[in-house]
Symmetry: C2
Subunit: 647 residues, 2 copies
Amino acid sequence: DARSMWLYRWYYSNLCQRTLSFTIFLILFLAFFETPSSLTRTADVRYRSLPWEPPCGLTEAVELLCLLVFAADVSVKGYLVGWSQFQKNLWLLAYLTVLAVSLVDWTVSLSLLCQEPLRMRRLLRPFFLLQNSSMMKKTLKCIRWSLPDMASVGLLLAIHLCLFTMLGMLLFTVGEKDAELNRERLTYFRSLPEALTSLLVLLTTANNPDVMIPAYSKNRAYAIFFIVFTLIGSLFLMNLLTAIIYNQFRGYLMKSLQTSLFRRRLGTRAAYEVLSSMQAGAAPETAGVRPHTLLQVLQKVQMSGSHKQAIMEKVRSYNDVLLSADEFQKLFDELDKSVIKEHPPRPQYQSPFLQTAQFLFSHRYFDYLGNGIALSNLVSICVFLVLDADVLPRNRDDFVLGILDCIFILYYVLELLLKVFALGPRGYLSYPSNVCDGLLTSILLVLEISTLAVYGFPHPHWKPETLGLLSLWDMTRLVNMLIVFRFLRIIPNMKPMAMVVSTILGLIQNLRAFGGILVVVYYVFAIVGISLFRGTIVAPFGNSSLAPANGSVSCGSFEQLEYWANNFDDFAAALVTLWNVMVVNNWQVILDAYARYVGPWSKVYFVLWWLVSSVIWVNLFLALLLENFLHRWDPQNHEQPSAGTPE
Amino acid sequence: DARSMWLYRWYYSNLCQRTLSFTIFLILFLAFFETPSSLTRTADVRYRSLPWEPPCGLTEAVELLCLLVFAADVSVKGYLVGWSQFQKNLWLLAYLTVLAVSLVDWTVSLSLLCQEPLRMRRLLRPFFLLQNSSMMKKTLKCIRWSLPDMASVGLLLAIHLCLFTMLGMLLFTVGEKDAELNRERLTYFRSLPEALTSLLVLLTTANNPDVMIPAYSKNRAYAIFFIVFTLIGSLFLMNLLTAIIYNQFRGYLMKSLQTSLFRRRLGTRAAYEVLSSMQAGAAPETAGVRPHTLLQVLQKVQMSGSHKQAIMEKVRSYNDVLLSADEFQKLFDELDKSVIKEHPPRPQYQSPFLQTAQFLFSHRYFDYLGNGIALSNLVSICVFLVLDADVLPRNRDDFVLGILDCIFILYYVLELLLKVFALGPRGYLSYPSNVCDGLLTSILLVLEISTLAVYGFPHPHWKPETLGLLSLWDMTRLVNMLIVFRFLRIIPNMKPMAMVVSTILGLIQNLRAFGGILVVVYYVFAIVGISLFRGTIVAPFGNSSLAPANGSVSCGSFEQLEYWANNFDDFAAALVTLWNVMVVNNWQVILDAYARYVGPWSKVYFVLWWLVSSVIWVNLFLALLLENFLHRWDPQNHEQPSAGTPE
């Protein structure tokens, strides 16, 4: 028992869990380097150089390492859970199966010298991410629960689509002798599958005015057909999907919060029972825990220092009275209270002049002054951007901008030094915003000094040519860009902004499960996409990038829009392509291009991806955001302060 | 007092309120006929004929009539409210002002013989709609409350936009000697306003893959810039706006329901007090209402027949006991119960054969058979659509389709007759679905008979030519289209579907206020748009429609996409243009075209419209839908049955 206890502790220690997370990250990250490797400068088929191919065995070795870590993980988990429980736990069984399949696939691929046509194990990799997070499993369960309702809306959507397709086909063949209407028919309603595609795309509003233009220029009344279709489909039914998903996720966050609170209560109560039973011999009717015992136990417990100290101080205040169960519980409420971070004391200066200076530079008006300077710096960059917009790079005069940059950076350095003087080095670093500022300032200083060293001090008509990789101009731009980031420190100083930003930051904490599911979905679809569509998009005219905007291709097609980079030839390109389809705009172009290059069945893949990503995931995200937002802004919940805001 | 009571009753009578609603509708509808009248076949500037212009004084006369009705309305309202209250009521004061301004404007326009350059009163018209609905006023108040929060998110959005614009401009001028990057700079980031527009449009995802293509084909890493921008802007901040609006509208519906319930309670209580005080003289300690008195009062009250009967029956069951306040209240709970509509008794037939037939044809399996037949009819139309897709109209053989249509219509007529036989004529009409079916069937029958009369019975190679307006082919199509609508009756037969449909129907009832606000917003923006942009889009090459897809215009421009119909030359066209901008897809084309034709300031109008319609209104709609849906599907609310569903 002691051994398994030790194993349990060791397994759930930070180091072990971090190793596991890193392994998962590593095995997922491998996809960027594996055979259709993403290590080219561009994904555009016209300009792409031959990618670097990893030698056979390199990525495989890393993969084997990861798989062995997973094997160790599953065996430890199995040992801890026990064999009889193991058989009942579907997730663990699936884990074992996936691991076995991956290993078999790995040996097969190595025995074929990495020339195998299909890699099953790549598809299975996201499973490792999925099974390691309990939140993700919960979210998946939630999604599964809402599937029946979503299916009924989906069915309604399908009926809506079919009815309007038929109506449209009937409508646009009535006046067939009409040139305009015939154009509508020939472009969007030629055959049943094409009409269906047109209206499906219209459901996402991606071809909105275009699809109605030929009929609408013929007669105003045809607009009604398209407007009614969009109204019902896009406004009613699509938003109904959002409502259904939100309905399922309402209270999801709340419930999981309550569950974790309940678990902790249960744990403290159990600890209380154990501790009180240990001294039950003395006086059975006066059950309770002696503070002294508790202090001894607390010494051994791992928890963050400040919380520990707070609890121990409270325990000491009870002297030697026996603690009742309620009092015991209350002790651990300290854990909920977020500790107000205390800043180290300011350095004490003797001279009254220095004290005045310290007061001055640690005052918040000094911060405001710094913000004002950053803002004016930003404005000056803006002004130069506008002034230089129409001037060719070689005619530009960088003199004033160079001088200004110098001055601003000097100010930032001064500010840094004064603040360090006023707050002391440790006090300065105890504010996260200062750390950020300091880092940016030192980078700026280094950049500026190196610029001055190479090019000398700015003078009128200061036009140094390119040296090495970057010209001076680029250097200045880089410096300016960093200043833009510095500007962000203004945001927390504005009240309503700070509220919204804290909501977003709070959301990000809760977002890991959703992000994980997104990663899983993207990964699976990207791998499937690569195996389906790799190499199907070929460069026009034998890779010649010299052909100008060619007039032979029709407007709005994949070729005219030069979407060549939207392919599935490697993992990174596939991710970007999937992103573009997820954002939905102009996805009909990609849909159409792949239908031409590969075959009409490719539409199934893209429609499926649209359903999974844009319909389900984006709605999921919206539901989570709503949930999080309402939970945070609800006045009833203000007694439970969110982490980070001092009470 | 009696006279004002009479006036009050008369004013809130159905007739008077309907007259008022009709007047509002009429004055709003006038916009279609007024000087830039919408009575042309198409809005396309290339093909548009000269519209019919109403003679000066025609629409003005109608308008004066409407304004006089409003004047009567405001005076009655003022009389009923009383002058001291009138002065305090801002809505009524505004009503009076608007009316006065409209009348002055009307006289000015008539004295100028309808040649006035600007018609103020058109802009003010939607106010009449607004002030007539208390729900709309409430909704407006709700929107006003959520404005501060929205402003803070809007500010964040603006900062986000500005930062990324500057970053983008700095980023895409770093490697300026680079051809591809330079293209990105020249196309989307040429100057500060253009970069801002590009990224604003990207915020709506309307130019999603296009804007990143030049940079992305240069280097993969540039995609990160655009993806991060879209993620933060479109996913986080835009959805945060939704959350804020939803937060404000949560409980909005609930509250208004509770308020109306509370008001009714108050009313009944007051009635009870009045009635009991009338007989207080008899026995002051046994306060109560004599059922007899109540019956007398009820006789005079206007309410729907079935409710009245139910209440009166209950009152009679009390005999002559005095009613206490609680009992009195309970009586009126009858109003909440939706009456189960009783279908008239079926006709009684003597012969057992007829009875069996009646049982058979009134059974629900007979309904299912009818649905099946309708479905098979739909499938047959589908099959013919697919078969005929590639055949030119003149080669088509309509023989089989004609025969099939005949058979199906015969079946529908038979079904109609049998149902009438089984349920009796009044019983048949008591089901709304039957009424719909019967109407469709009779129209189909008339169409079919007229077809047969004109063209004779179908035979092979049956190819009658066009007679009058419609050819036989078109006639058949028309018939088929009506059958498609008949198919809709299947939906209520499916359980989850019925649920979703009932949600949507329930939503529509609650939607009037939102629809009204949409009408107001559309109206105002359309009128402003007409006065700003009327006649600015002119047909290319002197109205020649003969010019083919001209190669001189660049792809993706207003001219190449032939968006000529998206103009502001009359009211109907303006509405469709605004709709297209509201749907957001490809709105950058319209934005760009108007910036070229009119001037860069036109962007302000479109961005404003985007903010009002797409950002605020669509989110409002989503909030309402969520609210409605959650309210209906919440198991706690099932004791409050929604109107229409029998308990």
